[in-house]
């Protein structure tokens, strides 16, 4: 009898702990906010911006981005030094620390979306699939909104 009640107690405690932990964890381990693509006319590549928050307790790495609406998507960072500007391909991806937010914003990190597969207009929705390391599921589909070229 003593053993049975002991086992029961452990089960109840474990269930309680699980319930508590699951209640603490956010619904989504990764949060993407304000995803937008800045429309550029003439078939030139466009920039994609957003901010990404890692709600897990371990670092994650954004390693890839792809979209059916574009022939190729790269993760880039604009670097300005001594009055000159150039782009750096982030071939190691982008690390987002546990609980941290990384902003992809003008003149910094951005997606370079190349070769639009159809004519886009302001207000259109474009899906981008992100690939991650260090989190499950490893793929996230995010809907970006096409915004005017003059927006920030």
């Amino acid at each position: 009898m003593k053993i049975v009640s002991g086992v029961l107690l452990v089960i109840v405690l474990l269930a309680g702990a699980l319930w508590w932990v699951s209640d603490m964890a956010p619904a989504e381990p990764i949060e993407i906010e304000n995803p937008r693509v800045r429309l550029v006319p003439g078939g030139a590549p466009m920039a994609g911006y957003f901010s990404i928050t890692n709600h897990t307790d371990a670092p994650i790495r954004l390693v890839s981005a792809a979209s059916d609406a574009f022939g190729h998507v790269m993760i880039h960072r604009t670097v300005v030094t001594d009055g000159g500007a150039r782009m750096e391909h982030q071939d190691q991806g982008v690390l987002v620390g546990a609980g941290e937010t990384v902003a992809f914003e003008p003149k910094g990190l951005h997606l370079m979306l190349m070769r639009a597969q159809r004519e886009l207009e302001v207000g259109d929705a474009v899906d981008v699939v992100f690939g991650f390391e260090g989190v499950e599921p490893a793929e996230y589909r995010v809907t970006f909104t096409v915004v005017p070229v003059t927006s920030s």
Partner: protein, 192 residues
């Protein structure tokens, strides 16, 4: 020293740093560089010189259309600043986008691109020789990086906007760190 006082001092220092020599937000280049002179191809396909601006002040940026991030960000800030100017000043100021990537930026591409920002923005490009002559004149450079598998490539370029007065004398370099209000203040003062 107490914290609020330190904060005030820092704010004062920042304000001083933000307002450079002679009270400009940008960098004054008056007398430091030669007057504007070039031979380039315009977005209409015609060969043009600095006379295309017909004696109007010019804000000129060197970039390329396959530049998705900093070029649109800079041109958008310039156009937003121009919209804050009094109407007569807006009409006087000419905007110019010089592509240092003539291989990909033909007249039509340039026209589509500049029209997306402003109808007052003229797209220009030229041969490597013409572009080198112009960029060297203003002590700036550009260059091409290695081609990717699909043939695309990156271009490094100046991040500043060069402003010339109605006599085509260089006056200001508006660095990419300036905000819309600072650009507008400098342009308004220059155009007075």
């Amino acid at each position: 020293m107490n914290l609020p006082r330190l904060g005030l001092m820092l704010a004062a220092l920042l304000a001083l740093a933000a307002c450079g020599e002679e009270g400009w937000h940008g960098k004054s280049i008056e007398g430091l560089m030669p007057e504007l002179e070039f031979r380039l191809t315009s977005e209409t396909g015609e060969t043009v010189t600095e006379q295309v601006f017909e004696g109007r002040p010019v804000a000129m940026y060197f970039g390329f259309t396959h530049c998705p991030d900093i070029c649109p960000a800079t041109l958008a800030r310039l156009v937003a600043a121009v919209r804050r100017l009094p109407e007569p000043q807006q009409e006087r100021l000419q905007l110019a986008f010089v592509s240092v990537d003539p291989e990909r930026d033909g007249p039509e591409q340039l026209r589509d691109y500049t029209d997306a920002f402003s109808e007052r923005m003229l797209g220009l490009t030229g041969t490597q020789k013409q572009l080198k002559t112009l960029t060297r004149r203003y002590r700036t450079t550009y260059g091409y990086e290695e081609r990717r598998e699909d043939g695309s490539y990156e271009v490094s370029h100046s991040s500043a906007i060069f402003v010339f007065d109605a006599d085509l004398e260089p006056r200001l370099m508006l660095l990419d760190s300036l905000g819309v209000a600072e650009i507008a203040a400098d342009l308004e003062r220059l155009l007075q």
